[in-house]
């Protein structure tokens, strides 16, 4: 392993002596600023919030729409009580037109 020139090594030792003391703790308010910066960087924009709202509404309404569609389809398959309705109409016409 090579080594530094002794004078250069001494220069480096001197240089470390003029370094400012290491801080033991963060400056007042530093941690709060970091957390606030993190929060603001990760708060969604209004557009993103609206987009999320639209998607969640779509997902929430999907089961309602699906149930409605199933109900309509099942209704369409039930035979219409045509004969019963016609006699009821005739009864109403004959009784209420007199």
């Amino acid at each position: 392993m090579n080594r530094l020139h002794p004078d250069l090594k001494r220069l480096m030792a001197w240089s470390s002596r003029s370094l400012p003391p290491e801080p033991d703790e963060a400056p007042l308010g530093f941690a709060g600023r970091v957390v606030a910066a993190w929060n603001s960087a990760h708060t969604p924009s209004l557009f993103a919030q609206l987009q999320r709202l639209a998607w969640s509404s779509a997902w929430a309404s999907a089961p309602v729409i699906l149930c409605g569609a199933v109900f309509l389809v099942s209704q369409a398959q039930v035979p219409e009580p045509v004969a019963g309705l016609a006699s009821a109409l005739r009864f109403l016409v004959s009784n209420f037109t007199q």
């Binding site: 250069l8 001197w14 470390s16 963060a26 530093f30 970091v34 957390v35 993190w38």
Partner: protein, 182 residues
Amino acid sequence: MREQDQDAARSLVEHLYPTVIRIVRRNLPRRADEEDLAQEIFLKMFEKLDQYRGGVPLDHWVSRIAVNHCLNAIRAQKVRPEWRMADLSEEQAAALDAVTTAGVQEPAPSELIGARELVDLLLDALSPEDRLVIRWLEIEERSIKEVRELTGWPSTLIRVRAFRARQKLNKRFGKLRKQGRL
């Protein structure tokens, strides 16, 4: 913290601040504000926190983020123009004189400042990675194992970088001495 606990986040920043600021101060790009750089490192740490698997101690993991961030910031700077002996300040020239004079044991405060500036000038000739290795091994007198833990670089790479950096620094220092009054 992963549940967005603000108090835990603040405590984490306060706990890791000395580790981060030590790295930032040793590897501060010129004209960069140390607190700004430290804040960027903490934001990067929060961003990557989900990737932390506990394989290494948290402060080592964070120090690697800090090292990489500082190295990228230094790389993004323009290279300092070549300096010459004539460019040395009075303190730097005095420090060079004192360090090469055998009898001087206790340098003056101004010589200590000159020594630090001179070392910074000499280290500027190295790549950011080599500079970091020299700072930790030669100035802070850390072991290869410690540098490996703090950077995540393999020992062989650290040794190679240190060898290359020492060679370059000795050459530069020799040139500096010859150009001076010695």
